[in-house]
């Protein structure tokens, strides 16, 4: 079955980031033979004086296909991991959602979108999780991270929010690859323009530096590209910069 695992508020200014903890849990899902994890996505939540975030208020989420018999072991393991590895002063929250069991997935998506726009109370997050049959637990501090954890799951489920954690390593020739070759990467589903148009397989893309990053659009990991101005070598596109991806 398909699950979403989302965590939030595990760090402080000196610790590892929440994304590293999410990646570690994802790796352990694979290593323990519970299932197969996908990439981790970062989801921006509201920045507001009433929200006690460390520095950016983002949640981290990944999907996994697991055997149903492993669900409780996975939840127990992730809970213990967060309790043990979260930084001093943090307020970690864990959300584990069984996607096929959601009677109203749109309610979870709506919660995620709401958490990007307004201040949400812990009681609201807990009530929605209980209503939808979602595992939502706090593992230290105030437990405020349950809000972001639940929101992160909703935003990942929406398929249209967030950037993938990490950079992609794609084989190139003179820093250039075809769209077809880029799509062949395990963590890239599509290559599109910033306006959303897909590119043909034989089009050439210049991949700038080692900062190749995809975003989540239509439930896919999409490499966004922009036109290259004034080239005579047939290269029409290049990957977006960090600044251009900031709003995702």
């Amino acid at each position: 079955m398909r699950i979403l695992i989302s965590i939030d508020d595990t760090d402080n200014l000196e610790s590892r980031g929440t994304g590293d903890l999410a990646s570690e849990i994802a790796r352990e899902v694979n290593d323990k033979g519970w299932g197969e994890s996908s990439y981790v996505t970062r989801h921006q939540l509201l920045v507001h004086p009433d929200i006690p975030y460390t520095s950016h208020n983002s949640a981290m989420c990944f999907a996994a296909e697991i055997d149903e018999s492993c669900l409780e072991s996975l939840i127990d393991h992730a809970s213990a991991y967060l309790a043990r590895e979260s930084a001093a002063g943090s307020d970690p929250g864990l959300c584990v959602t069984v996607v096929d069991r959601l009677a109203t997935p749109e309610a979870l998506v709506a919660f995620g979108r709401k958490a990007k726009q307004s201040v949400v109370a812990m009681t609201e997050a807990s009530a929605l999780a209980a209503q939808l049959g979602i595992h939502l637990s706090a593992h230290g501090g105030s437990g405020q991270g349950i809000i972001g954890a639940l929101a992160g799951a909703g935003l990942r489920l929406s398929g249209n929010d967030g950037r993938l954690k990490g950079h992609l390593s794609i084989a190139t020739t003179d820093d250039t690859a075809t769209v077809r070759d880029i799509r062949a990467h395990a963590d890239v589903d599509d290559v599109r323009t910033l306006e959303g148009s897909p590119l043909a397989g034989d089009e050439l893309v210049r991949l700038r530096g080692d900062k190749v990053k995809t975003v989540l659009i239509d439930g896919k990991s999409v490499l966004l590209v922009v036109p290259v101005a004034g080239t005579a070598d047939g290269i029409a596109w290049q990957n977006c910069t960090k600044q251009q991806l900031r709003s995702y």
């Binding site: 920045v47 960090k242 900031r246």
Partner: protein
């Protein structure tokens, strides 16, 4: 380049889109420390926008260094 906000914090006056200004400030800063990869947003590696000690606000960020 800095203002003191209502909470007494040092807030960046350039907002959240002053890429050259944030890079200039970071170049002068002894406390700059890069944030984790997924939280970096500026193309200049050394930028206040990429610093672990910046705390984003709705309009800009405050410096916690």
């Amino acid at each position: 380049m800095w203002q003191i906000n209502q909470r007494g914090e040092r807030a960046f006056a350039g907002g959240n889109e002053d890429w050259p200004g944030a890079a200039r400030m970071a170049a002068l800063c002894m406390a700059f420390h890069p944030d984790v990869e997924e939280e970096q947003v500026a193309d200049e590696a050394r930028s206040c926008y990429n610093c672990r000690y910046r705390r984003w606000t709705a309009a800009s960020f405050v410096c916690g260094a």
